[in-house]
């Protein structure tokens, strides 16, 4: 098969779509006004920011006054945790509930809070990659300030029982935050129906640009600022608004949430073909449940090969993917998500995440299914670990 370029790392970031780019372009050189300015150029910018805010609100079934633009998903996560903790500290609420497989934007913020006298409960996940809502119920205490459970996991794509967890938090009168960075645009989200108090989202996972995010904060909850300065975002988040990025996020979320079921059906079919094809390789496993999983997520472990060398080999063949191996994490331990699933270190080192989108084609899948087995065979042929595995099998 002829070499081609296949981008299969959409959980890392996505291509800015043509429609999004087109909607943004006038805001660089024509409608470049500062939204805080009094003249028409500024007023128009403010108006277009509000239009984008309306689109984000509609996508979540929230009200525009509940949406604040931020610089990224991580900022939204930081604001949610630190903001709620600071707000409830005078009431003596110094306990946080989260899960072991959250994004580092949550985990590292929680670790920071621990250094400042907070206690954090890290709920486990089961071997299929789900948090049990009953565990949330049992962990809630008198002094619990916030429960933060991600909507869908970034590595294994498992979609959490958000509505149930939210209902428990409502019943117990605890604020419920969800990091929905991977879920928005892939799963229908309704903050009212799903009992969500605070939600983080990011633009660059849904074909908008990097450096733009948003947070939904339910009416009635007022968080202290994370960033002080001007009066932007109704005095809650200072910094001159990134108008092109905000407009782009509005376009992107409108498109992404307009046809979720149809898009999910198409992407799931490709994804399943990918999973089934790769699982034909001996000694492989799918990480995380196949049901209740993001349509575009395929995460498999391939025994006897190491993730980073697999990625380098795929890159030589034009395929962009990611891995949970230690070598790609910049630390010496493999992915905390895969270890939380119960994988042994050596199996976690050999993980491969392919995340496809609606821009992926059937030809891309054919190509991946042709290249991965070939590359795995090359790496296994030179792997002393594979040699051991085969010997033990015999």
């Amino acid at each position: 098969m002829e070499k081609r370029f296949v981008y299969a790392d959409n959980a890392a970031t996505t291509r800015v779509s043509d429609e999004v780019l087109k909607s943004m372009l006038p805001y660089f050189t024509e409608h470049y006004g500062n939204a805080s300015s009094i003249y028409k150029l500024g007023r128009d910018a403010q108006k277009d920011i509000e239009t984008a805010r309306g689109k984000v609100a509609k996508a979540l079934n929230a009200s525009p006054s509940e949406i604040f633009f931020t610089s990224c998903g991580s900022e939204s996560d930081n604001w949610a945790i630190r903001g709620v903790c600071e707000k409830l500290a005078p009431k003596g609420k110094k306990h946080i509930i989260t899960s072991v497989f959250e994004h580092h934007a949550i985990l590292h913020t929680c670790q920071y809070m621990e250094k400042h006298g907070y206690e954090v409960t890290y709920l486990p996940i089961n071997e299929q990659g789900f948090v049990n809502p009953e565990d949330v119920r049992n962990a809630i205490r008198e002094d619990t300030a916030i429960v933060s459970i991600m909507y869908a996991n970034n590595e294994i794509g498992t979609i959490q029982p958000i509505k149930e967890i939210g209902a428990i938090c409502r019943e117990k009168k605890v604020i419920f935050h969800t990091d929905a960075v991977q879920a928005v645009g892939n799963v229908p989200i309704d903050v009212q129906e799903q009992n969500i108090d605070i939600l983080s989202l990011s633009g660059h996972k849904i074909h908008a640009q990097k450096g733009i995010g948003a947070i939904y904060i339910k009416k009635g909850i007022s968080l202290p600022n994370l960033i002080f300065g001007g009066a932007q975002e109704r005095n809650k988040r200072a910094g001159t608004e990134n108008v092109p990025a905000i407009v782009g996020l509005g376009t992107a979320i409108e498109i992404a949430t307009s046809n979720i079921p149809e898009k999910a059906k198409k992407v799931t079919a490709m994804r399943n073909r990918l999973i089934d094809g790769l699982l034909k390789l001996p000694r492989t496993r799918l990480n995380g449940s196949r049901e209740n999983r993001l349509a575009g997520n395929c995460n498999i472990s391939i025994e006897g090969v190491e993730g980073e060398s697999l990625l380098l080999k795929l890159d030589l063949n034009g395929i962009c993917a990611s891995s949970g191996s230690a070598c790609t994490s910049g630390s010496l331990d493999p992915s905390h998500v895969l270890l939380a699933l119960g994988l042994k270190h050596e199996v976690a080192h050999g993980s491969l995440r392919l995340s496809i989108s609606d821009e992926t084609t059937d030809e891309d899948i054919d190509y991946i299914l042709e290249v991965v087995p070939r590359v795995v065979e090359q790496l296994r042929a030179m792997s002393p670990l594979w040699e051991k595995i085969i010997k033990e099998e015999k």
């Binding site: 190491e306 270190h345 670990l385």
Partner: protein, 140 residues
């Protein structure tokens, strides 16, 4: 993180990959848990490494250092081989990213481990010649 052209070259076209069936010494270092295993086979004639082959499970840096190390020791007398440091291997590869330096230690250890096996097979205590083979600190 950036790999040098040389690292990428040795990763994509590793030299001396494989096994030697009638090897005079075999060394294996690293462990699966920490994500790197290196196995080295040597043929020795008249105190000279006449052939060397390796198999590695590990990242790009681990494969590239194994490959480079085999190139550096092939045809060399044992006395010279024992002087080879991981630093020299890294330099020959035009450097490694800081987080990958520990991978290069493995190549030096694999060679020493193979030489130890060679001397042990000959009934010679390898310790005074080869010295201690320290475990990779980063992995423990």
């Amino acid at each position: 993180m950036q790999y040098s052209e040389k690292v990428l070259d040795h990763f994509s076209n590793p030299r001396n990959v494989g096994e030697i069936e009638d090897a005079d010494g075999i060394g294996e270092v690293g462990n699966a848990k920490c994500g790197d295993i290196m196995k080295m086979y040597i043929k020795v004639d008249n105190d000279i490494i006449t052939d060397v082959k390796f198999k590695t499970f590990g990242c790009g840096a681990a494969v590239a250092t194994s490959s480079m190390a085999t190139e550096l020791i092939k045809g060399q007398p044992i006395s010279e081989v024992l002087k080879l440091t991981n630093k020299a291997v890294v330099e020959a590869l035009d450097g490694l990213p800081a987080v990958k330096l520990h991978c290069s230690v493995l190549a030096e250890q694999a060679i020493k481990s193979a030489l130890s096996d060679y001397y042990t097979r000959k009934g010679i205590d390898p310790k005074p010649i080869v010295g201690d083979i320290e475990e990779c600190e980063a992995c423990h």
